[in-house]
Amino acid sequence: MGVGTVELSVAPARARRSTGMLIGLGVFLLLAATQAYSISISTPDRDMGHLQKIMYVHVPAAWNMMIAYFIVAIASLRYLWKGREKDDLLAAAAAETGALMTGLTLALGMIWGKPTWGIWWTWDARLTSTAVLFFIYVGYLILRAFVDDPDRRAQWSAAVGLLGALNVPIVYMSVRWWRTLHQVQSSPSTLDPNYTLSLRINAIAIMIVVLFFIRHRYQTMQLEAAADAMHERIALGDRGGINA
């Protein structure tokens, strides 16, 4: 398989780093603007009061965790099919971001759960299946850190990435398949129009943040793979023919 074949040069990498910082600044300013707008226009909910505003971070984090895992599944499948290193790196970048968003979703859910349900945590189907998803992808990242052979690491990661992604529909449907403390999914018909608009723009802003993270991590992984490939050549005694 084609692992260990990426070669990049340093100058474009530095240029991309500067551009990445500017894009990152823009992405976070957009997120700040959407949150400020949503908080300012949202009236208190009849039952939850101002606590409802946690929806603007908890729900987008959960939705975008699913988008990250969808990318993991597609990239892992492509790797198993075509054996290209870039698909393995994309899956790994998306898995790291997905695990981050899953951890954030769980933590935000606990913060919302304490004043709403009176408890930080319960072994409810939605919470438990999300925690399982989180630990699968933490395991995925640990696996990548401990397997040295690039081909074997990529194949095993693709298998775990796909298995983990199979859990995503279970997480989504858990509130309908089992009787849970967690509410069923909201829809525009069950939400106040102000809440719907705010939820959508925050979901889009966090989606842009997540896609930025995945892209940035993917490019860094390409640089790391290129550096590893060069160090391997050095170890084998190959010198010369490189233009920095």
């Binding site: 208190p44 101002h50 505003k53 951890g103 004043p115 010198r239 010369g240």
Partner: protein
């Protein structure tokens, strides 16, 4: 001030700490990867520019 304000502030603060923390981690990882690639390029070219 609503009774639940600490939870609301906590949720938004946590979101920003996590996202900005990961952003810093990404930039550090990029800087280290670029440095490693530069080092490898220099080693491989044997100091010839």
């Amino acid at each position: 001030m609503p009774d639940n304000m600490p939870f609301i502030i906590g949720a938004f603060a946590l979101t920003w700490v996590v996202l900005l923390g990961y952003l810093v981690h990404l930039y550090r990882a990029r800087r280290d990867a670029t440095r490693r690639l530069q080092q490898a390029t220099d080693d491989l070219s044997g100091g010839i520019k």
